[in-house]
């Protein structure tokens, strides 16, 4: 003990010490959800696609990417591009988070002033990515054959290299990369996922209500447990 502690006899307050106090039985998990202390299960993460319609103005992309890095959302890809309306751009994000994290990401995104609307896409939404892959040209015929297997197109050929363009789902692109490895991959460039909802469903409609998901209650007013939508894997 240092010399400063000579004068501490009167420091502190009266009352029953911690060990004499009653303790509640319950417990919460790291997401603040009350859980059965016996189970202690942490929720699984899932990958999902979030589409945001934003004002097409400077700084929006850095607002969005800054938000995701600052709040430590696990982001897999982010793409941005113009839309049918010159004043609006669409940002497509692929994130991998547990359920509360996905909800929080959507809400935080919606709070940004230039963001017009946010929608998490259904598992059956159309998702596409484009890849340019440059491989060694030692076996050009075989490269062309593999490109064909993945509906790819040869977009550049030189005596030493062949560059193929492949579009499709993330899984298809990754399968293609694996197959092209046999030729010796020199460079890859991928766009990240862009996506649209199917049919007449709007990908990101006009700004929706502030709270998208309202919990459901049983007859006596007890809330049902937080819903988990099934995981989707492209």
């Amino acid at each position: 003990m240092s010399q400063e502690n000579t004068n501490t006899t009167t420091q502190g307050l009266e009352g029953p010490p911690p060990e004499d106090r009653p303790r509640p039985q319950g417990r919460r998990n790291a997401q603040g959800i009350r859980i059965d202390p016996e189970v202690e299960a942490e929720p699984d993460t899932r990958r999902t696609v979030i589409s945001a319609l934003v004002k097409h103005e400077p700084g929006v992309l850095s607002d969005v990417s800054g938000l995701f890095s600052r709040r430590q959302f696990n982001i897999e890809s982010l793409t941005v591009g113009p839309t049918e309306d010159d004043d609006r751009a669409r940002i497509t994000l692929v994130i991998e988070e547990h359920e509360p994290g996905i909800e929080q990401a959507k809400k935080q995104l919606r709070k940004l002033v230039p963001v017009i609307s946010v929608r998490e896409l259904a598992p059956d939404a159309m998702r596409r990515e484009l890849m340019l892959i440059k491989v060694n040209a030692t076996r050009p015929d075989q490269v062309a054959a593999v490109a064909g297997m993945y509906d790819g197109q040869t977009v550049d050929a030189s005596p030493e290299t062949v560059t193929v363009q492949v579009t499709g789902s993330r899984q298809k692109i990754e399968a293609a990369i694996e197959t092209f490895e046999q030729f010796g991959i020199r460079e890859i460039s991928r766009t990240g996922t862009t996506a649209l909802a199917r049919g007449t469903e709007e990908t990101a409609a006009t700004k929706g209500p502030a709270s998208e998901s309202t919990p459901e209650y049983t007859e006596d007013g007890t809330p049902t447990h937080p819903q988990t939508t099934p995981s989707d894997d492209d």
Partner: protein, 606 residues
């Protein structure tokens, strides 16, 4: 002062909720005053971007602005020269941002601060971040180098919108003199619509110097910005049933109750249904602490009884709170038996840290009234209330005052509280003195507690007192409780308080330590006082006199009452250098990430 300017900012919500007369009375009163009593005075037409900036501020009723001059903001200051807006030149831009922040807290209208580009703007950053963490309405206007030089690393160039993006509710880089006034109006509206927060408009010098004859558009939030005022009826019904059926209900009132002018609604709800009330630190003043139902503040240095109540309740009604870690302690053990009814105007706060079984997005006062209308009976919680009262007597905040030891800081705080009115405003810095000011002052009114909660900015207290003084009524005392380390960070603003003849009583709880750090070093770092001993501090009473303020000093108990009385009686800034017990510690204490119910009452319990 500009009477013409006393028009409340346009608020689309007002039209939809005209029945909320009580909340809107003040602003509607002033709006009607200006239309009835003011002759139609035609202001000079706008001729430059800078004049449009000032006109936009006048249009929304700005009375005060806090700032420091500098190269890139000079055109705006030149336009301000002709305005009725009172500009308060601060000693440092950080002081301007804290003063504007406190002005916003006390008045409920966004405080305005101005700074030049580069260092002026970066000096505002701490205050902007502070306002962002505490959701205080504030607008910052920063000069910027001319547009064609942006990106060239010009003299005093900083990417101000880039720097402030993560710490503002919204910011914008003005690109044209014709629209710069619209940008300012929109920033003002955004700062105070929905969940308040700081906004910033960056003003390149060429934009403010350029000619324009366009008057600023009406201040309004962008079309894409929507605020939900009323909560979902189904969730309200379910929440009301839950409260009716609960045996151990507790209200947790946060800063949003004060910002949303919902204190009255919450008081009525709590007393009608006899529900014990706990507050967060920003929620201090939302409920009278001398009321039987008040359990006072919960959290790291909250009262023992508040932490017992929040830990053992079965239904927690959280209003305008974001469940900060200083409140919750460890998430696992926070109110572990409670179903949470969470009312907040920001949907992103609901279930962010603590899952809400009953999410109620909306304006605090509106939703509390919705809940109240839905309630068919009060909860049967007599036993629980008796338990809460028992905890109050089991965990008193009493402290000893041995005559042979230095003056206890708690004693000085209580002496000031006794000598002042219920409406006295308290501002603080950050540290032990701040916690004693929370614990030992009995707050009864909203907007009387002004502190740096989320960011924990040492040095906040005194510049905040400057802003609070100008926003307060003349009969409200403004008391600034500071620590020696904290006061030393921004005390140059004494020059401003003397120049402006501001009646502020500053009490420095001087323990010659950066005391909270010293307390933690004793508890967690084996008493190794690395860089926490401050015996090199100046004599604050002598220094106050050098600034032209009045200086006092306290060393003994018998000096406290008379000195406090003399300092309060002095018309102008006065500084009491109160030499208090350097060994005094802040208790109760829940260590970081700890269990609120297991709060320590002394160091050996940590």
């Amino acid at each position: 002062m500009s009477e013409r300017a006393a028009v409340s900012p346009p608020d689309e919500q007002d039209e939809e909720h005209e029945h909320e007369q009580e909340q809107d009375e003040h602003s509607e009163q002033s709006a009607s005053d200006s239309t009835e009593t003011e002759p139609e005075s035609t202001p000079e037409p706008v001729t430059t971007g800078a004049q449009s900036v000032i006109r936009a501020l006048e249009n929304v009723g700005v009375e005060y602005a806090f700032g420091v001059q500098g190269g890139a903001i000079m055109p705006v200051y030149d336009a301000l020269y002709d305005s009725d807006i009172t500009h308060v030149t601060m000693a440092h831009e950080q002081g301007a941002s804290h003063a504007a922040d406190a002005y916003g807290i006390v008045s409920g209208e966004p405080g305005v601060c101005l700074a030049t580009s580069g260092p002026g703007a970066t000096n505002l950053v701490t205050g902007i971040a502070d306002a962002d963490m505490d959701s205080d309405p504030m607008i910052a206007l920063t000069g910027q180098v001319p547009t064609e030089m942006v990106g060239n690393d010009a003299f005093q160039e900083t990417d101000t919108t880039g720097v402030t993006t993560p710490i503002t509710k919204a910011n914008t880089f003005s690109s044209h003199a014709d629209t710069v006034g619209d940008d300012v109006g929109e920033a003002f509206a955004l700062a105070n619509t929905g969940r308040p927060g700081p906004t910033l408009v960056d003003l390149p010098k060429d934009v403010t110097l350029s000619e324009t004859d366009r008057e600023p558009a009406e201040a309004r939030v962008p079309d894409t910005y929507e605020v939900q005022e009323r909560a979902d009826d189904e969730v309200v019904r379910a929440a009301a049933r839950r409260i009716e059926d609960s045996q151990r209900p507790a209200l947790l009132l946060g800063g949003g109750v004060i910002k949303g002018d919902a204190s009255q609604a919450c008081r009525e709800f709590a007393t009608e249904h006899e529900i014990p009330v706990v507050t967060t630190m920003p929620g201090i003043g939302s409920f009278p602490e001398d009321h039987e139902l008040s359990m006072e503040m919960a959290g790291m240095h909250g009262t023992g009884y508040a932490n017992m109540a929040i830990t053992h309740c079965d239904t927690l009604i959280g209003i305008g709170t974001r469940f900060d870690d200083r409140l919750t302690g460890g998430i696992e053990t926070f109110a572990p038996d409670a179903e949470l009814i969470h009312i907040d105007i920001d949907p992103a706060e609901i279930s962010k840290n603590i899952h809400a079984e009953y999410p109620l997005v909306g304006d605090a006062a509106t939703v509390v009234e919705q809940l109240d209308e839905e309630m068919e009976r009060s909860p049967q919680a007599k036993k629980w209330r008796a338990q809460c009262q028992q905890w109050k007597s089991e965990y008193p905040m009493a402290y000893d005052t041995p005559e042979d030891e230095p003056v206890k800081p708690q004693f000085v705080v209580e002496a000031l509280d006794e000598a002042t009115s219920d409406r006295a405003i308290v501002t603080t810095g950050v540290g032990q003195h701040q916690m004693w000011a929370c614990q030992y002052w009995t707050y009864t009114e909203p907007r009387t507690w002004v502190s740096s909660h989320g960011l924990g900015t040492m040095g906040y207290g005194f510049p905040a007192a400057v802003g609070a003084r100008l926003a307060a009524d003349d009969d409200q005392e403004v008391i600034c409780v500071e620590g020696d380390g904290s006061f030393l960070m921004t005390m140059q603003e004494l020059a401003v308080a003397v120049r402006e003849h501001l009646d502020i009583t500053i009490v420095v709880l001087n323990n010659e330590y950066i005391g909270m750090v010293r307390q933690w070093q004793d508890a967690f770092f084996e008493g190794r006082h690395s860089a926490s001993e401050y015996h090199w501090c100046p004599e604050f009473d002598t220094l106050a006199e050098a600034f032209g303020a009045k200086g006092f000093r306290i060393d003994e108990y018998d000096e406290v009452a008379d000195t406090v009385e003399a300092a309060l009686a002095y018309d102008g800034p006065s500084v009491i250098d109160a030499h208090v017990d350097p060994q005094a510690n802040v208790y109760p204490m829940v260590p970081s990430g700890g269990d609120n119910g297991q709060f320590a009452l002394s160091e050996d319990q940590l």
